[in-house]
Each structure stands twice: as structure tokens, then as C-alpha cells.
């Protein structure tokens, strides 16, 4: 690979966007070309900072607990007690030496005390070890409980959503609106129903194309003069999706009253688009066609 060829690909290389074989060839060139290596380093510094552009989310509180449990650190610091123990043992030894100079009798007595002290130390160490094992087991159990609680919360949320869908399905006063895919998603179709009694709308879709990681489907409605994005969703692997929205008023049918677009997630991540984009994916079925 020549330097001019490297210059063509250096940006993609630093982003990790070259095919593996291309990247290997460029790396081989860099090993023997300081000038190109410096060029790569300059780009790498810029690219390394891109991670900071992500929208910031609060990490779940349990994450910190999981990490501290994972390193076995969610316990009192044992080293301090061991340091103290070593200090006392050292002091006792010093006393022993001093008294040994004074007389054998004292030395015998003190050496006996040192033996006792060493025995105490050994027993203390055993107890500490046992205690540490028990603590460690308890902490592992605690970590498992935290994980289980998180999974339970997720399941409860899912069950609550499914229960709401079931309740809506049994509502005799449902107001339905059918939506069909535009040319961007000709296989897609959705049913939107609104419950007057519960003031909840439910969207059920099938045949939705998968999206890239930075895109999301968004449901829009027009209430009076106002257009509102009421919820975003992604399809499952089989192209189906469900969305529940709290809406206080019925959304009448018609071409502009309720529709679904594909939206880019905003760079800052705090909010999604404030107005619907051009990539319309689903529109209501025209009344005469729906009647047929």
C-alpha cells in the first residue's frame, strides 16, 4: 500500500469502517511509515472524543452495586484490623527482646504470652476468613436478588401492558382506525383503537421493516389545531409492534389525523422531533376503502 492510498482511507480506518483485509494492509503500511502513522494519530485523537457526543442517561442505581459486589468490595476494609494485629505482634516481639536481656524467667513468661498471642492471631484470622466467606456469599446472594428484582419489574411492566391490551379488546365501545403502509413500507399495516371509557389508544402493527439503530417509528396525531408526537416504538424481529398511548380525545380518521413516520433520534437525546418528518410510513385507510 502506498502513502497516497493510505491518505484515501485514513479517515475510514480510524473510524473502524474499513473491511478487515483493507485495515490489515493499512496497518502493515503504518508499521513502516512514520508520516502516515502521525496522520492516523491526529485523526484518532478527534475520533476518540466522539463518544462524548452521546445523549447522557442516568445509569441504573443497581449497576454500581453490581460492580462493587463483583469486585467483592461491598464490605468493611479488613486490612486495617490486620495492620493493627501485625502492629501488636511486632510490639510484643520488641517487649520480648527487651525482657530477655533482663532475665531468662521473664523471657520464658513472655514467650509463652507471645505464643498465646500468636494463637489468638491465628484464631482471629480463621474467624475473619470465615466471616469474609459468609459476607461474600451474602453479597453474591444480594447481587442475584437485585438482578431478579430488575427482571421482575420488567416482567410486571410487560404484563401490565398486555393486560391493558386485553381490557381494551373487551371494550364494546372501541373506536377503530385502520392504517396502511405507504410505498416506503407496502407490507405494513396497523390497527389503532381508542377506548372512550379508559381514554387510552392502542396501536398494533405488523409487517414493519426493521430500522437502523438511530431511527425510530413515531405515532403522530392531530387534535384540534395541534399536531403531537404521542409515542415512539421499534418493531420486534417479526415486524410486529404495539404501542399504548394516553389520549383524552378520540382521533378521527382521515388522511392527516393519525399517522406514523420514521424519525431520526435527536443528537442531544433529550427529545425527539417536535414535528413529523417526511418519511411517512403508515396512513389511515381511506373511509370508502375501509368500508369495503
Amino acid at each position: 500500500m502506498r502513502c497516497d492510498e493510505v491518505r484515501e482511507d485514513v479517515e475510514a480506518f480510524v473510524l473502524g469502517a474499513l473491511e478487515p483485509q483493507e485495515a490489515r494492509s493499512l496497518e502493515a503500511h503504518l508499521a513502516g511509515c512514520d508520516e502516515c502513522a502521525r496522520r492516523v494519530d491526529a485523526y484518532r485523537t478527534a475520533v476518540d472524543h466522539l463518544a462524548m457526543s452521546v445523549p447522557l442517561y442516568r445509569a441504573p442505581a443497581r449497576l454500581k452495586e453490581r460492580i462493587m459486589v463483583g469486585i467483592g468490595a461491598a464490605r468493611p476494609a479488613f486490612p486495617h484490623s490486620l495492620v493493627a494485629l501485625r502492629w501488636w505482634a511486632g510490639a510484643a516481639a520488641a517487649v520480648l527482646v527487651a525482657f530477655a536481656v533482663g532475665g531468662i524467667t521473664w523471657a520464658v513468661i513472655l514467650s509463652s504470652e507471645v505464643r498465646d498471642l500468636r494463637e489468638d492471631k491465628r484464631q482471629l484470622a480463621e474467624l475473619s476468613e470465615l466471616d469474609a466467606e459468609q459476607r461474600s456469599a451474602l453479597l453474591r446472594l444480594r447481587g442475584d436478588l437485585i438482578t431478579a428484582r430488575s427482571e421482575q419489574e420488567r416482567l410486571v411492566t410487560t404484563l401490565e401492558e398486555q393486560a391493558t391490551f386485553l381490557v381494551l379488546a373487551l371494550d364494546p365501545d372501541l373506536i377503530p382506525t385502520e392504517l396502511e403502509g405507504t410505498q416506503l413500507a407496502p407490507e405494513a399495516g396497523c390497527s389503532y383503537v381508542w377506548s372512550r371509557t379508559q381514554e387510552i389508544g392502542a396501536l398494533t402493527c405488523q409487517g414493519l421493516p426493521s430500522t437502523s439503530f438511530s431511527l425510530v417509528y413515531e405515532l403522530w396525531v392531530t387534535l384540534g389545531d395541534e399536531t403531537i408526537g404521542v409515542g415512539t416504538f421499534l418493531p420486534r424481529t417479526d415486524g410486529t409492534a404495539q404501542l399504548l398511548v394516553k389520549l383524552p380525545a378520540e382521533v378521527p380518521g382521515g388522511m392527516s389525523r393519525i399517522w406514523v413516520t420514521l424519525e431520526q433520534q435527536s443528537q442531544t437525546g433529550e427529545t425527539l422531533s417536535s414535528s413529523p418528518g417526511d418519511e411517512v410510513i403508515l396512513l389511515p385507510v381511506p373511509p370508502q376503502q375501509a368500508a369495503r
Binding site: S53, Y57, A59, I67, S214, F233
Partner: protein, 219 residues
């Protein structure tokens, strides 16, 4: 002795942590270590000496942004949590992998988070595009958290603003191509296929976009 890092920062901005002139052989007096204010490098040295409080302090500073990078890349809150845990456990097990002479700690930490997320995406065959979106699932964004509580937000707010503004200056097509490569882990050919654009067009977008970013952030 502490010194401001911004003097040798090519971006001309600084993370709200300090670098210190300290070698790996220098003793760290754990009893006098002020964890909340200690420089990142000092805390990493303390981690080498198995100081769990040092890891906790670094988590308090950067836990949210590490989690956010993982979440951005895999789009799944549970997986992002698992990956973030791996990143910090890796720091605990092998702190010597961070070389203070080669750059800032946060940059290194986020590159570990990104690389681990890319590995995970690849090992799962890139089926994340079908999974839950990060934003509407009830996760609280730090923008809604008071600055006094969002410590890591304060810690890298300057850099985030500069990088965010730099990205915003790029044309949408260039920005999207760079984001697909960087956060999605896609190659140029894959991006061309996904966007239904000629490969040459994607290459040009990436090249021009990154050249402009470099000019803004480095030169």
C-alpha cells in the same frame, strides 16, 4: 503535584479532572487520598493497589457516560448495564492497561466501552436494530437531573458541548455516515448498502466529515 491538563490537550478543552506528575512506582497514601477530588491517574494507581474506593470514585465520575455510550451502541438497557459492568470490572482487574502517557483516562475508558459494545454487536449478528429504543423506556436523561447530582455530567460537560457542536456543523449525510461507522460499528460497504448509496459517495462523506471534525477539534 497537580497541574491542569488543558495545556497539552489538543482540543483546547479539559475534562474536570486533573492529571498529576506521578509514576506507577510512586506510593499512594490511601489514608490521605481524597477520593472525590483525586485525579483520575491517581485513582487508577490506587486501583492497582486494590483500593475499591478508588474504583467507586471513578464510577461516580464516569458511570453514567460509560452506560450512555454502551446504551447508544447496543440500544438495549439491560445489555448496556451488563457491558458497563464489564468495563469497570475490567478496569479493576487490569488497571495497568491504561497508559497515562498515551492520553486521558476518560478517553481510554470510553474507547473500552465502545470496543466492548462493538464486539457484542458483532457476536450477536447485529440484531440490535430490532430491540428496544433507549429513549422512551423511562430511563431518566441527565439533562433533567440537577447539575449537583449529575457529577459525571459536570465532569465532561465541556467536552460534550464542543464535540456536540462540532458534529452539528456537519451536513446531515456526513454526520449520519460517521455515526453509523462509529456507533454502529458498520464498515463503509455496509453503510453504503444500508443507505442505498454508492460506496464512493459514502467514502467521500466519511472523509470530508472527519476532515472537518479534525479541523474543528484538533487543529
Amino acid at each position: 503535584m497537580a497541574r491542569e491538563q488543558s495545556a497539552d490537550d489538543p482540543m483546547g478543552i479539559h475534562v474536570a479532572s486533573r492529571s498529576v506528575d506521578i509514576s506507577r512506582d510512586a506510593p499512594v497514601d490511601d489514608r490521605s487520598l481524597d477520593y472525590a477530588d483525586a485525579a483520575d491517574d491517581v485513582l487508577v494507581l490506587a486501583i492497582e493497589k486494590r483500593d475499591a474506593q478508588a474504583l467507586e470514585a471513578l464510577y461516580d465520575r464516569y458511570g453514567d457516560i460509560v452506560y450512555s455510550v454502551c446504551l447508544r451502541m447496543v440500544g438495549d438497557v439491560q445489555l448496556a448495564e451488563d457491558l458497563s459492568q464489564e468495563v469497570f470490572l475490567r478496569l479493576w482487574r487490569r488497571p495497568a492497561l491504561f497508559d497515562a502517557g498515551r492520553g486521558k483516562f476518560l478517553t481510554w475508558l470510553l474507547s473500552v466501552a465502545r470496543n466492548r459494545s462493538i464486539d457484542e454487536r458483532r457476536s450477536r449478528g447485529r440484531r440490535f436494530r430490532h430491540e428496544s429504543p433507549p429513549s422512551p423506556t423511562g430511563e431518566e436523561t441527565l439533562a433533567a437531573v440537577p447539575a449537583t447530582e449529575g457529577r459525571d455530567l459536570a465532569a465532561c460537560a465541556d467536552n460534550r458541548i464542543v464535540v456536540g457542536r462540532a458534529l452539528a456543523t456537519l451536513p446531515k449525510e456526513q454526520r449520519l455516515a460517521i455515526q453509523l461507522a462509529y456507533f454502529g460499528g458498520y464498515t463503509q460497504q455496509e453503510i453504503a448498502k444500508r443507505l442505498d448509496q454508492p460506496l464512493g459517495t459514502v467514502k467521500t462523506r466519511i472523509r470530508l466529515g472527519l476532515q472537518k471534525l479534525r479541523l474543528i477539534l484538533i487543529d
